[in-house]
């Protein structure tokens, strides 16, 4: 896709979610003094975007130190606020790099229920296919009804082979088989789907660890990436999700989905501050092409509705 068209789509995806925020900032600032009331309103806007009360207060605090009492236009406000947020996000905006030498680079995809794991795997498979890599998929959700069939359809869409096991089969065993077959077939990337699970369910988290252990038996360096898929509508609980998944399975990066909706995913700012965990990509729709790299500046600007 041409770069221009690409940005157009990204913007379109994010535009809707930022419309409201733009309106509210517009409503506050024609050109006015950055006083306590104005700062409070700005803080509220950040809170409404799910940055969380603490992070919002912190960002506005910085803002207050440098700009308090100045006459400002809404444009200036947005730009400065966006830079402030982009500065937090820039260090974590890192693409997911696939090492061809691993043959295959093993990607374990985890997250709570319904966040978009399976769809994201479909999107990634599409991307890798387009860039000339050979992806292979493992239907590691052996628990949820029709989860296997769902991934199989993604396999067809992206011409990727899907390794499956019967319902309720041991997911770790299946992952092991998957890796064995991917090695034999010379696949470049092995994308392992897992059943959605709440991070506070110890036995289910233990199952994930088992998958990790079993993979290492076959390739001590695997999995090479552990992706946590996070739904942009999630509020403060995302912090707990990242914390626990990181502790249990060494999450290496995040993918944030559903940014095509009205939720702005501001929680990632808090996540960046607390965990410094890489954010690789964002999901902006349900189709195979709806995955975008995570760009700190664009994301920050969209968050505050900068043009």
């Amino acid at each position: 896709m041409a770069l221009g068209a690409f940005f157009a789509r990204l913007k379109e995806g994010l535009a809707r979610s930022t419309q409201k925020i733009t309106e509210s900032i517009n409503a506050i600032f024609k050109k006015r003094r950055l006083d306590d009331a104005a700062l409070e309103e700005l803080e509220d806007i950040l809170v409404s975007a799910d940055l969380g009360a603490a992070v919002a207060a912190h960002i506005i605090g910085n803002f207050r130190r440098t700009r308090f009492g100045k006459e400002v236009t809404d444009e200036e406000i947005r730009e400065t606020l966006a830079s402030e947020i982009a500065a937090i996000l820039e260090p974590v905006a890192q693409p997911l790099v696939i090492e061809r030498s691993h043959k295959p680079h093993v990607v374990l995809v985890v997250g709570v229920n319904g966040t978009g794991k399976t769809t994201t795997i479909g999107k990634l498979a599409q991307q890798y296919r387009e860039s000339g890599l050979i992806p292979m998929l493992v239907a590691g959700d052996t628990f949820r009804a029709a989860a296997v069939e769902q991934l199989q359809i993604w396999g067809q869409r992206t011409q990727a082979e899907v390794i499956t096991a019967p319902q309720n089969a041991d997911a770790a065993g299946l992952a092991f088989d998957g890796l064995t077959r991917a090695q034999a077939a010379g696949a470049d990337v092995l994308l392992i789907d897992t059943a959605g699970r709440l991070h506070n369910k110890a036995t289910l988290m233990e199952e994930l660890r088992k998958i990790m252990r079993v993979l290492k038996k076959k390739d001590p360096t695997a999995p090479h990436s552990v992706l946590l898929v996070l739904d942009a509508t999630t509020g403060q609980n995302a912090i707990q999700q990242v914390k626990v998944f990181k502790e249990m399975v060494d999450v290496t990066g995040l993918i944030v989905t559903k940014l095509d909706g009205s939720a702005r995913g501001g929680i990632v700012v808090a996540l960046a501050e607390i965990f410094s965990i890489p954010i690789h990509a964002v999901g902006v729709g349900e189709q195979a092409g709806d995955l975008r790299p995570f760009d700190a500046r664009d994301f920050a600007r969209s968050l505050v509705g900068a043009a």
Binding site: R16, S17, K20, D44, V47, S48, A49, D50, G52, A53, V112, N113, G114, T115, G116, F143, R144, A145, A146, A147, E149, Q150, Q152, I153, W154, L198, H199, N200, K201, D231, A232, T233, T234, G235, Q236, N237, A238, I239, Q240, K243, K258, D260, G261, S262, A263, R264, G266, I267, E286
Partner: protein
Amino acid sequence: MFETLSEKLSGVFDKLRRRGALSENDVTEALREIRLALLDADVALEVVRDFTANIRERAIGAEVTKSVTPGQQMVKIVHDVLVESLGGEGAVSINLNAPAPIALLMVGLQGSGKTTTSGKIALRLKDKQRKKVLLASLDTQRPAAQLQLQQLAERAGVACLPIIMGQSPVEIARRAMETGRREVFDIVILDTAGRLAIDQVLMDEVKAIRDATRPIETLLVVDAMTGQDAVNTAREFNQQIGVTGIVLTRMDGDARGGAALSMRAITGAPIKLVGSGEKLDALEDFHPERVASRILGMGDIVSLVERAAETIDQAEAEKLAAKMAKGTFDLADYANQLKQIAKMGSLSGILGMLPGVGKLKARMGDANLDGAILKRQAAIISSMTPKERRTPDILKASRKKRIAAGSGTSVQEVNKLLKQFDDMSTMMKRMQKMGQKGLLRQGLGALMPKGIMPGASGRRLF
């Protein structure tokens, strides 16, 4: 990670001595903390604003019950308003008051749990209400979604509308209702594809489905982990298609669930059901009291306050507190305290109500916290002479034997009680050192002398 609201409020009110009524300044300071706590719990900002305004009105001038602190009183007010805002006491069930076949329409964002919830409701209506239920998936969007519902229907033992590929959601909806009429189903549950509230094409589609099926219930299925966006979703779905009830899913997670309050406030629709697991029977009625406590991140301190106000003899309680403070608390006082505690109900229940005690309780094991032990201890103390109660140090072997015989217990048990009283005195000294603030901050766990934890030495506190 976050301090709970009850802890924060205790902090705020620590500075204040008991003053009878809550002043405007007290309340304002508390409201700041309440606002933050609600935001941490993911209650949407605009809902938080209305809510705190409501609290302000209610709290200023409110009398503080003698046996609780102003912080606790404030928590109770917040909790009460929360319960009201969440729908008041008791659960609201699904409306089935219409001629068969009754259509239930399930709507919501992608991944909120509509399909699983459809299966759960089908199972519940079939088992608990002996209804003949038809499940129909109108989700032509997500790969294998129709198959998922079909498999769930099999598991639940209810019928599923046969899948015909290529039909539009509205066509499937019509076919479902026809099948419902023809085959005399009581209820037809229509599971729709997840959609974003800002996706006008898909919102129009669900409007058409609604018009074609005239559902008696349109249930908005919402993830309990939802953040600030809850208001946008709730408002759009409600304005565009009319929501009659809300189902809150993934309440088995550890999200505070503030979205419940946002959703309810924006739609005015009752929260009818709660999803609490992945299995089909993990569906529960909605209890506002429980969710209120959860949003506030506290144990059930409210019930504690209520029960304390009802049962504890205030004068007696204050006398005991004064003695503790002075360090003149003796076995007679202990017996007195046991009586008060016994009046309030089971110890494990009480411990569960205190913030920060959940873990402690789990470690101690419920078995050791029953009332029988309290009664035996009371009996032991009542077999002592007043002098023995005041100065337990004089209790040597012969006296202990007499007491054991008199109370129908053993010397061992007498020893255990004495040891415990000893531990308790130690505890009180620590309490004095920490002050009330420390106690509320760190919870009861901080008071435990090292050896007293069962894991460490096998000895029990109670």
